[in-house]
């Protein structure tokens, strides 16, 4: 982890708030990002992630708080004077300029010598594998090519920080995945710090070294993709990232090694491998990821018990690479269980209306404060 001279992180966002009329788009956000990180801001629409990105670019000024980049306070610095560049969601390629003129625009604004601009443009075209396209107009490019030109243009000035606003949302699924890998490779090669805004949790998980989940203008959780997925700190995060079965419960007994959570509606207890978030009697949520659950035909005498639920299969959804079983529990609730599609469909071990037992390991139980 590299730190700047006065021991500040590379990028520090400090108590930033931005309101639009009565609506608070960004609400007292503080966040540190290190040099060379690929950081993702993840959230639904209206969560404030794009506003936060625009504040970093200087396109929107915060009402309060400040942004410090590489030891320099960015407050009041206009966008054209910031060592920050952005890849826009619409790409914002200048339609009246060629690809090469687009990529060289930022350098021309700096007053760089012609030869230097030409070399740098060639270098950027090579970086995004667009050699030979320099003379084309943006209108004559495909969506994926436009994305690459937008990336090359934003990187041409060697910004300290590259901002990406939903950069791949205009591409179809296959192209999006291919471009994600490319983006990652380019980030590693240039060593530039990337901050990406996305509403696509898969994109955030694949690309980012760390991510922040935003909701209603606040940071809900910050961590590596693994941390946030495996140890969500709230019902919102558990639900937003991936799929989760969520039940109400009350802490029955806690300890440093394990916790027991009683569920009145299911008539059983969850045993978790993690310590309880609070004392006995505290109401909590229990979240179970469908892929961490096992399903099998229940023996006739099987009953609901610790970390085991017995119910009846009401629906089986076929996704190609996996099945999602919807199991109705005695109280009327449904739990979703996914199973990878390892064999051909003919010999399904569990079928519609089967009485099944759903079980899991203690480390699959995520206990969330209410």
């Amino acid at each position: 982890m590299s730190r700047t001279a006065d021991n500040l992180p590379f990028l520090r966002i400090e108590g930033v708030t931005r309101r639009f009329g009565a609506f608070t788009a960004v609400d007292d956000v503080s966040l540190d990002i290190d040099r060379g990180e690929f950081f993702a801001l993840l959230g639904g629409s209206g969560s404030g992630k794009s506003t936060l990105l625009r504040i970093l670019a200087g396109l929107t000024e915060p009402d309060s708080g400040r942004v410090v980049l590489d030891g320099q306070d960015m407050t009041g610095v206009p966008p054209h004077a910031r060592p920050v560049n952005m890849m826009f969601q619409s790409y914002a390629l200048f339609p009246h300029m060629s690809v090469a003129q687009n990529i060289g625009y930022g350098l021309r604004m700096e007053g760089a010598p012609r030869a230097a601009i030409r070399d740098r443009v060639a270098e950027m075209l090579a970086l995004v594998r667009m050699e030979g396209f320099g003379e084309r107009r943006p209108a004559a490019l495909s969506g994926g090519q436009r994305a690459r030109v937008a990336l090359a243009r934003a990187l041409a000035k060697r910004p300290k920080l590259l901002l990406l606003d939903e950069p791949l949302s205009a591409l179809d699924k296959n192209l999006r995945e291919a471009t994600q890998f490319e983006l990652q490779a380019i980030q590693e090669r240039t060593g530039t710090t990337f901050v990406i805004v996305t509403h696509d949790q898969e994109e955030a998980m694949t690309l980012a070294t760390r991510l922040a989940v935003m909701d209603h203008g606040r940071l809900v959780q910050v961590g590596t993709p693994g941390e946030v997925y495996e140890f969500p700190n709230s019902r919102f995060v558990a639900d937003f990232l991936g799929t989760a079965n969520i039940f109400d419960g009350v802490v029955e007994a806690g300890g440093p090694e394990a916790a027991r959570i009683r569920s009145a509606e299911l008539g059983m207890a969850f045993v978790s491998a993690a310590p309880a978030p609070g004392p006995a009697g505290m109401p909590v949520f229990v979240a179970l990821r469908p892929e961490r659950l096992h399903i099998e035909r229940a023996a006739p005498d099987a009953t609901t018990d610790e970390n085991r639920l017995v119910g009846r299969v009401r629906d089986i959804a076929y996704y190609g690479d996996f099945f999602m079983f919807h199991v109705e529990l005695p109280g009327g609730r449904t739990i979703r269980v996914s199973q990878p599609n390892l064999r051909r469909i003919t010999a399904r071990p569990v079928d519609w209306d089967d009485r099944v037992a759903v079980t899991w390991d203690a480390d699959a139980v995520m206990v969330l404060p209410e």
Binding site: P79, M86, F94, R153
Partner: protein, 266 residues
Amino acid sequence: MGRLLVPLGLGFAFLYLPILLMVVVSFNDSRMVTSLTGFSTRWYASLWSNAPLMEALFLSLRIAAVAATMATILGVLAGFALARFGRFRGRGGFAGMMAAPLVMPEVITGLSLLLLFVALEAAFGFPAGRGAGTVAIAHATFGAAYVAVVVQSRLSDMDLSLEEAAMDLGARPWRVFATITLPLIAPAVAAGWLLAFTLSLDDLVVASFVSGPGASTLPMVVFSAVRLGLTPELYALATVLIGAVGGALVLAFVVLRRRDRGASLP
């Protein structure tokens, strides 16, 4: 679509038959505009040697060029402010003032400006008398309203992130305007200028109010000539003007279309 072709054809006949008639009659030998006798270009020669009419034409062209240029400067500034400054204080009043000349009856515009010029002359001695200058000012005022509308609507259609991207890449505000905004709205600016130019060239009512002795614009001269009687000379003039304006418009359209198409081909 099929059964709509009939009204479409009739509509175009309504629009174009009178024009066709003028073109045909302008090449007719007869002094009358109502009977065809033979092909002749003599009315064009006679038009060329009609000094008052030609003087008025060149005066009108000069006024139109000055007024359209002034209107374009005012209209681009106003359209930019209305499209890009968000809600500033007095925006409503400013927008209303910019748009009002669009719906103002010409007699009111003419009368009110004349009364203003008279009052200014009485108070400050300027403008001393009225003529081409006051006509140009009047034309620039209502021309600016048209340019502002055209520019504003083009700017509102334009993706705001283009200008933000330029700023983000290090362009100062005036360079953003010069390198991104202006080139992208250039067709709208040109269309606005052309619109202001033709409106000025076409205006009879406002000019009749605000002009002075010795500065008779083309429509003023044509108007008095028509009241004295129709001549093929006037139809020759109409043919020349329609040919020039129509040719310029079709050319502009073809060039723009080719440019657009060129852009979308590799």
